[in-house]
């Protein structure tokens, strides 16, 4: 199945909004760390509903914000959620970004990078479009150390890249990005039921759920273009 087929379906069934709500718990902390200067141009890779770009416009004084997504339906939804003339959406693929060299100040990507058919190519493309000193904020919940995420691959037909923390740093460096930070951002907002309510449909034990959200949370890797 293609990215388009898979995620057009997610978009038309409203999963873009569901992801926005859940991902916001950790994404907002990562977004708050971005050194956005007034007027900076931001690119959101795999933007889904586009909440990250909207937040950077509203709270960080970003200039233009572009969301790229491989699913036309995702981009269409995202367009409907805003009438900010400084926000724009583009349908495109992580494998060959349709942007000029050095044209972007900051690239953001949440829960999307690992769908790239070739993550190394995508990192090189990101390094190419970033201006010198620009940052790449890469946030993922699906990664090696987060054992609770491993089964996700079973539910999706696109092959996912499951790197560990070190592979992320290595991959960034191989593409010429300097690694500035790596962090696990806990999700402190998701409701974790009391012991007596387990097992739940998705969680056998409360400990596992606590580990998944409060400990592993979202893995953030920050790279800087040289």
């Amino acid at each position: 199945m293609s990215v388009r087929e898979e995620f057009d379906d997610w978009a038309t069934s409203g999963r873009d909004k569901g992801m926005e709500e859940r991902h916001w718990h950790t994404a907002k902390h990562a977004l708050a760390r971005m050194p956005v200067e007034p007027g900076d141009t931001i690119l959101d890779l795999g933007c889904g509903s586009g909440y990250a770009g909207r937040a950077l416009r509203d709270n960080a004084d970003a200039g233009r914000v572009y969301g790229l997504d491989g699913s036309p339906e995702m981009a269409r939804n995202a367009t409907e959620y805003t009438d900010d003339p400084q926000v724009g959406y583009v349908v495109g693929d992580f494998g060959s970004l349709p942007f000029a060299d050095d044209s972007i100040d900051h690239v953001w990507s949440m829960e999307a990078f690992y769908y790239a058919a070739d993550p190394h190519t995508t990192l090189e493309e990101i390094a190419r479009v970033l201006r010198p000193g620009g940052t790449f904020y890469c946030a993922v919940n699906y990664y090696e150390e987060n054992v609770h995420s491993h089964e996700w691959q079973e539910f999706i037909e696109i092959e996912m890249t499951r790197w560990d923390r070190e592979q992320y740093r290595e991959g960034f460096r191989d593409a010429g990005l300097r690694v500035a930070e790596q962090d696990n951002i806990p999700d402190r907002e998701i409701t974790i039921p009391s012991e007596g309510e387990f097992p739940l449909e998705d969680w056998d034990t409360r400990d596992a759920m606590v580990e998944r959200y409060r400990e592993y949370g979202t893995l953030l890797t920050v790279g800087v273009a040289p």
Binding site: D8, G70, P72, P85, V90, D93, L97, D101
Partner: protein, 72 residues
Amino acid sequence: MKESLLEILRCPLDKHELELEDAEYADDEDGDGDGNEVVDGTLVCAECGERYPIEDGIPNLLPPDMREETPA
């Protein structure tokens, strides 16, 4: 899409500039000084000639082999 997006948008195949053809603009210009809103048209690579559609105001810059017709 805003016409200003053309400044940084490039052909995904060879990263050359794109030219806007057959542009249709939105009726109500918002007067924000950021150029016009293009709702329909085609982006053409100045180098390789590859053509990319603008659908409902959203440019589709997927590489041609990944671009499919909108399912019925």
